[in-house]
């Protein structure tokens, strides 16, 4: 939240982002990578509300993401409801799931919270695979084809999706800013700094964290719908998966610096192209090699700078005390 460059930098970035696709092939590979980078930046930003501001390290955001993808797609397949309506339904369901998950888990800290949320995502994946007659099971599900239209949220070229994802990223970032600068943001930061002290001065810690996780979950589900429409096809592993979604999203926010507005932008700009490049050049050679490269990249980044992740996270907010695990 630096004051001087505050409005100039975003304006320039936004202008570049708006103009850039005009110089790219509307159906080409580069614009597709950029579109995914925007989508994942938005997801990192949604995660940031709960993972950054409240410092609750969720490893289960795939659970919400998949709810969004499946809800809109199943509604579309079975009843022909527009994905935009499905998106709202998915967000509502994810909010409900977040409330149900939060009741038992919100008081957990550090490792324990990570474990509980990880289990949530994994179980959603298992259920989506097992509930075959409803979800299509492990074979996955396709978005039915329809002619180009914004109302149907379907386009043949990638360029329109690019602008939708850009809008989504801007909206999620505005939501993050609104939370961060509003009362809720102050409460969450107080909780992050010292939960007991926050409680003593009269902050309803449970309600604040619950609000953050509901907002984060419903935004993530809405992005799940975007993903389904962009990709046309998905299966339980691609939307509920631990490595493809939960970890990647958290990583994007963490690499860039959690709790900061620009963190997910930096993280997605670095990670998504890096993954795509390994996929592009190595993926066809041997199955698993691009995932291996991804895992190794993760290891190397952390070994080079294990504290760098936190060094990025602490700067503005009292760097004296690092929170100790429970």
């Amino acid at each position: 939240m630096s004051v001087p460059r505050r409005s100039l930098v975003p304006a320039v970035l936004l202008a570049v982002a708006l103009v850039a696709p005009l110089f790219l092939d509307a159906r080409g590979y580069p614009i597709r990578v950029l579109t995914f980078a925007l989508l994942f930046a938005a997801m990192g930003q949604a995660w940031n509300i709960v993972g950054g501001l409240a410092a609750q390290m969720s490893l289960g955001h795939a659970g919400f993401f998949g709810i969004g993808a499946y809800t809109s797609t199943l509604l579309l397949v079975r009843t022909g409801v527009s994905p935009w309506v499905g998106m709202i339904a998915g967000a509502a369901l994810a909010a409900l799931a977040a409330v149900l998950l939060s009741i038992p888990t919100l008081k957990l800290k550090g490792h324990y919270f990570a474990l509980a949320t990880l289990a949530f995502g994994e179980v959603m994946r298992v259920v989506a695979g097992a509930w075959e007659h409803f979800t299509g099971g492990p074979q996955g599900i396709s978005v039915p084809f329809s002619p180009d239209s914004l109302a149907a949220f379907q386009f043949k070229a990638t360029r329109p999706y690019y602008y939708v994802m850009l809008a989504a990223l801007v909206l999620v970032s505005l939501a993050f800013l609104a939370v961060s600068r509003g009362k809720l943001g102050y409460r969450l930061r107080a909780i992050r700094a010292n939960q007991d002290a926050a409680e003593v001065v009269g902050i309803g810690t449970f309600r604040a964290k619950l609000a953050a996780s509901v907002i984060s979950a419903s935004l993530t589900a809405a992005l799940g719908t975007c993903y389904a429409q962009l990709n046309y096809f998905f299966d339980p592993e691609t939307v509920f998966g631990l490595a493809p979604i939960s970890i990647r999203v958290a990583l994007i926010a963490i690499v860039g610096g959690t709790g900061t507005l620009w963190g997910p932008f930096v993280g997605a700009a670095f990670l998504i192209p890096a993954e795509e490049l390994t996929n592009h050049y190595l993926g066809a050679a041997v199955a698993g090699i691009s995932q291996l490269a991804y895992g190794l990249l993760l290891i190397v980044v952390i070994l080079i700078e294990p504290r760098g992740l936190v060094a990025l996270r602490i700067p503005r907010l009292g760097r004296r005390k690092v929170e100790v695990a429970p």
Binding site: H111, I247, V310
Partner: protein, 286 residues
């Protein structure tokens, strides 16, 4: 009667879960690290046993010490090269390092072994003992017996040997242990390797009734953490009880629900334990 049978099966399967999870809880208890990659040692143990069977014709039960040894050596190297460097780093870094390891190990297996499901053939695979109205599956029984033996061996190690005592001392107070001439870093390495070895051992003994593939570890991630949390993260005795309880829950739940949903039931138990007994999550080894 189906219920009683499920109960017996659950206890037998649960014994193996206990040993698989012992390794994880040992690592946490001594080092304070939650190793998300730990379930991959199940997969590694299974592959070692499979290759011992395919090339040497060795029964997986007899190959289980080999699995232990291979995982022990590999884990000692991983500890030295990676884990040691994040011991004092914040939990975020530890979580993501071990998650990176999880992804890397699974995909190394995928590249080296391919995505085929591999299983072994043994003479006792479908055999069962009759005990009144109940059937005791021989592979379950054998896996249970070996698991019980290895748990007993771990207990003896921790209680009766100098290394075991030194390891527990390090878990209690690293500084004090160091003052008594114990090298904490060596204890951490030993704990990590031992934990991985035990888990791989558990992987080998279940090979007669579970097929192995590069992604088999994923089946055990939630299960393992449930067992460990049930017993108290870092509590070795607790993991034994937790393993049996998880086995029974999983087995009995299949009597009432479709088999695909057994992990859902476990998850509910897992979250309930986290929610209602977090204070009961004990610390320290034994």
């Amino acid at each position: 009667m189906a219920l009683l049978q499920a109960l017996v099966d659950g206890l037998l399967i649960g014994g193996v879960y206990a040993v698989i999870s012992l390794g994880l809880t040992l690592v946490f208890g001594v080092m304070g690290i939650v190793n998300f990659a730990h379930a991959q040692f199940v997969m590694i143990g299974m592959y070692v046993a499979w290759f011992a069977w395919a090339t040497l014709g060795l029964d997986p039960l007899l190959a289980s010490p080999l699995a232990f040894a291979a995982a022990f050596v590999l884990a000692a190297a991983i500890e030295r090269l990676m884990i040691r460097r994040v011991m004092r780093a914040p939990p975020v870094a530890q979580v993501f390092l071990t998650v990176g390891l999880l992804i890397a190990l699974e995909n190394v297996a995928l590249i080296v072994f391919g995505s085929d499901f591999r299983s072994v053939r043994t003479t006792y695979q479908t055999a069962a003992l009759r005990l009144g109205p109940l059937f005791l599956s021989v592979p379950y029984l054998a896996a249970f017996a070996l698991s019980a033996a290895s748990a007993a061996a771990l207990w003896l190690f921790l209680q009766r040997t100098w290394y075991g005592r030194a390891m527990r001392a390090t878990a209690q107070d690293r500084m004090a242990a160091a003052l008594f001439g114990i090298d904490p870093e060596r204890m951490y390495q030993l704990a990590f390797a031992l934990g991985a070895g035990l888990t791989a051992f558990g992987g080998a003994v279940i090979l007669p009734y579970i097929t192995v593939s590069p992604s088999v570890g994923g089946q055990f991630v939630v299960l393992m953490f449930t067992v460990v949390v049930l017993g108290g993260l870092g509590d070795v005795g607790g993991a034994l009880v937790g393993g049996l309880v998880a086995g029974v829950i999983q087995s009995v739940s299949t009597v009432f629900f479709p088999i695909q949903l057994q992990n859902l039931v476990l998850f509910v138990v897992f979250v309930a334990v986290l929610a209602f007994r977090p204070q009961g999550l004990l610390r320290g080894v034994a």
